[in-house]
Amino acid sequence: GESVGLHLPTLSVQEGDNSIINCAYSNSASDYFIWYKQESGKGPQFIIDIRSNMDKRQGQRVTVLLNKTVKHLSLQIAATQPGDSAVYFCAENLFNAGNMLTFGGGTRLMVKP
């Protein structure tokens, strides 16, 4: 995702609502994208990935959408639960970076009961 500084934006949603977390990436050559979830006091954990030959991929309660035209990635969480409260990071694989993943700035999701 874009490196826009390390201050985390926050998304606050009501329990049971759907959440949409967005990420913009800068390199049109990126062909692999991952969403990570980081709970308090833990390292980031893999949620879902998508390759550039796909526009959409679904997991359990999560969907990732990729719009290559505008270089935008989103993570949709259905029926958001308190356990979904965490920081979410997108990551992109840069074709010319020797397989290195580059992480976006992250979004904090807060779920209100």
């Binding site: 390390l6 692999y32 992250g106």
Partner: protein
């Protein structure tokens, strides 16, 4: 172990002292990353190792920071003459590199506090 292991989990040090942080990646993973995360903030890239290639050190904030990866496995991040602004969680991650599209697995991090 099955995952990425970091030690120590917590480290308190006095300003001006040197510290070493250790990362044991997942066996067989040729790529290794170090990140720094200040409280409530995002991931700051520090350094990336990929097999026998020269590491990408572009994220190291100053010459007080250095990292090594011995034998293509264990990595050590060294911070010399620590400053209070070095206080953060230092995260290590590793990934396979048989193809270009591989996820990275993170350790739990080392929380460094410089007093």
């Amino acid at each position: 172990g099955a995952g990425v292991s970091q030690s120590p989990s917590n480290k308190v040090t006095e300003k001006g002292k040197d510290v070493e942080l250790r990362c044991d990646p997942i066996s067989g993973h040729t790529a290794l990353y170090w990140y720094r995360q200040s409280l409530g903030q995002g991931l700051e890239f520090l350094i990336y190792f990929q097999g026998n290639s020269a590491p990408d050190k572009s994220g190291l904030p100053s010459d007080r920071f250095s990292a090594e990866r011995t034998g293509g496995s264990v990595s050590t991040l060294t911070i010399q003459r620590t400053q209070q602004e070095d206080s953060a969680v230092y995260l290590c991650a590793s990934s396979l590199s048989r193809g270009r599209n591989t996820e990275a697995f993170f350790g739990q991090g080392t929380r460094l506090t410089v007093v």
